[in-house]
């Protein structure tokens, strides 16, 4: 009898134990060490020297950070907006255009393929298209149009956004299509009987049912666009100049190019706080 009660209370803890141990075996060191690093400075020959909040102060006065922040928000903001709007338009277009359910589902699956690849693979794939002698430019030549320097300072960030749109429009598409498909046909039957116009039907039937998916898409895309720097690393390595340098890539450079461990750590902590807040919003939203 007593043992029954005991197992009941200890079982859940036992179930979480392995995961907890493994995670904290790394995070338990990494997180405190990251904080420790952020108050130190890596001086060649001397190693780490305590410098207080200097690294955080440097963040505030570093002119490069402001350019990076602007590019980060431009990159993830514009990318998110394009992806979500396109995703919604395509999701609704598929439903309108194709009446046969099996064909519609196959087209839908086809449109999701890009999202199944990783950031790094997509970047490498796009390299074939956008490199100066690549496919797109040779198409432009065939059409007698001027070629474009896709990875030059004017276009590079746009090119990265385009490759991201190619890959990730699938996500809003998936979520919004799923939400659209779960609307009972009876709603549309009713709108049909009420003789509502296409716009009225969208406003009172479709939109209320998909707005949740739209919001989730926006949050997810905005967060994930800021998590990975793979595309930037592979396509442009932050260049030319600072043209594609986001805050994330700047942290990477500080850490591994300039060896400024302390400053990189401070920037990392600021990033983690921002992502943490975004994650919290997402989490609250999902519940």
């Amino acid at each position: 009898m007593a043992s029954e009660k005991k197992t009941k209370t200890s079982l859940p803890i036992f179930l979480q134990l392995p995961a907890t141990i493994i995670i904290w075996s790394l995070v338990g060191y990494v997180l405190p060490y990251l904080i420790y690093l952020s108050f130190n400075k890596n001086i060649p020959g001397k190693g780490l020297v305590f410098v207080g909040i200097e690294n955080y102060y440097k963040f505030l006065i570093d002119p490069r950070v402001y350019g990076d922040l602007f590019r980060t928000i431009y990159y993830s903001g514009l990318g998110t907006i394009i992806e979500v709007i396109l995703g919604m338009v395509i999701a609704l277009a598929i439903t309108n255009a194709i009446k046969n359910e099996r064909i519609r589902y196959m087209v839908f699956l086809l449109f999701l393929i890009p999202m199944s690849f990783s950031e790094a693979i997509v970047a490498n794939m796009w390299l074939l298209l956008v490199t100066p002698v690549g496919y797109i430019n040779s198409f432009l030549k065939v059409l007698n149009l001027p070629t474009i320097s896709w990875l030059g300072s004017d276009m590079a960030l746009t090119t990265i956004i385009i490759s991201d749109v190619w890959q990730w429009t699938s996500l809003p598409l998936l979520l919004i299509y799923a939400a659209r498909s779960s609307i009972s046909k009876e709603f549309y039957d009713m709108a049909d009987l009420d003789k509502l116009s296409s716009w009225q039907t969208f406003r009172v039937v479709t939109w209320p049912h998909i707005k949740w998916a739209v919001a989730v898409s926006i949050l997810l895309r905005f967060i994930f666009m800021n998590i990975y720097i793979d595309k930037i690393f592979i396509l442009t390595y932050g260049g030319p100049g600072f043209a594609t340098e986001t805050l994330g890539f700047y942290i990477f450079l500080q850490a591994f190019q300039y060896g400024a461990y302390g400053y990189a750590a401070a920037l990392s902590i600021i990033t983690l706080l921002i992502v943490g807040i975004l994650t919290y919003i997402f989490w609250k939203f999902m519940r």
């Binding site: 009898m1 029954e4 009660k5 009941k8």
Partner: protein, 368 residues
């Protein structure tokens, strides 16, 4: 075998009381029904009896033995869940055999037993099928068969009929009755449909908001509902409730009580004069005087609507002054809407409730 006793059982989840201080005695080998509207805590009560949940407070006794902290495996109970909870990856045979396999019985014995039960429930031809291939009625039978296979003396049925078509329900009720009689098990039916309770149960516990409001036999609850809620709930056609405007004492031990639109005479009773009251009249206790002859209380009413159900008719009546009544008469009665008829009833049949809804007396009590 087991007589089940619950003593002040309380269960709280997320600080919300689901079951509150419930005390019940469920006699041996009986057909017991726990009746209550959705959300009244009856399913939680079932889980407590089965041992799937442990109560926060109170005790559960099986034959005087405290089983409060025992799991369902150690209690002599089986459950037929509302959604049947059949294992989708196992055939009907394996589903039924599941409680036998735990006991590590030899395979041929398991086979014999499963086939015997399946035959009894007329599903022996469906044993090789998976749950996804069976109809609603068949799933129900497999679930019952699994419960029987455990050999438990107590079988808990959680809303076994709500998922079935209206007419299949009628047949299933018949079979549940037979099952209890022939197997001599203790069946506890959890239901929100008073018809189930009326037609099957020997004893009934009516629940509302986590509390047991009344227990008793069908007659006891029908004749003396503890309050207006039970009165309305426990019947085929909802009970009519009328507010009493005025109670006037009259000479010779009589009083007159007045609703908005009619009045009636009753023997003197102190309670009625002192308190503000309501009266309840069941639809089946109202008669059309032209057919039944004049009754003790008669009045005129306007027909709002007649609904013929088979051989019965439900008449919606307007008494004027915003008072309406529903009468159920055992004949086919078709009249024009708006026509006036005379209605009567026997004041012995009425229910007298206090203003907060508790039953004060039956009309017949006053005549003794």
């Amino acid at each position: 075998m087991p007589e089940i006793k619950l003593e002040k059982v309380t269960k709280t989840i997320n600080e919300k009381p689901i079951v509150q201080e419930v005390s019940l005695e469920i006699p041996n080998k009986s057909f017991y029904c726990i009746l209550g509207p959705p959300g009244s805590g009856k399913t939680m009560l079932m889980r407590l009896i089965a041992g799937l949940e442990a109560p926060d407070e109170g005790k559960i006794l099986f034959d005087e033995k405290d089983v409060t902290n025992l799991g369902p495996a150690e209690r002599n109970v089986a459950i037929v869940f509302q959604d049947f909870a059949l294992y989708p990856h196992l055939t009907a045979f394996d589903n039924i055999a599941s409680p036998l396999k735990v006991k590590k019985l030899p395979m041929n014995e398991i086979k014999k037993k499963v086939e015997e039960i399946a035959k009894y429930l007329k599903i022996d031809h469906r044993l090789t099928h998976f749950p996804a291939e069976l109809s609603g009625g068949e799933l129900q039978r497999v679930a019952i068969a699994r419960a029987l296979a455990k050999g438990a003396e107590v079988i808990l049925l959680d809303e076994p009929l709500v998922r079935l078509d209206y007419k299949i329900r009628e047949n299933m009720r018949e079979e549940l009755y037979k099952l209890q009689k022939e197997m001599g098990k203790n069946i506890i039916l959890i239901s929100s449909d008073p018809i189930d309770a009326m037609s099957l149960a020997e004893k009934i516990a009516v629940m509302k908001s986590g509390k047991v409001i009344q227990t008793g036999t069908r007659e006891e609850i029908y004749e003396r509902p503890a309050n207006i809620f039970v009165g309305r709930y426990f019947g085929t056609v909802e009970m009519n409730i009328l507010d009493i405007d005025k109670v006037v004492s009259k000479d010779a031990g009589k009083i007159i009580i007045k609703t908005k639109s009619f009045e009636m005479e009753l023997p003197f009773c102190k309670k009625l004069v002192e308190e503000k009251i309501k009266i309840g009249i069941r639809a089946e206790h109202l008669f059309i005087t032209e057919l039944s002859g004049p009754m003790d209380v008669n009045f005129e009413a306007k027909i709002m609507l007649t609904e013929v159900i088979g051989s019965d008719t439900i008449i919606h009546l307007d008494l004027g002054l915003n008072e309406t009544l529903r009468a159920s008469v055992p004949i086919i009665y078709r009249r024009k809407i708006g026509e006036k008829i005379r209605i009567g009833f026997d004041p012995r049949k009425i229910y007298i409730f206090s203003s907060n809804g508790e039953l004060l007396a039956r009309g017949s009590d006053l005549y003794d």
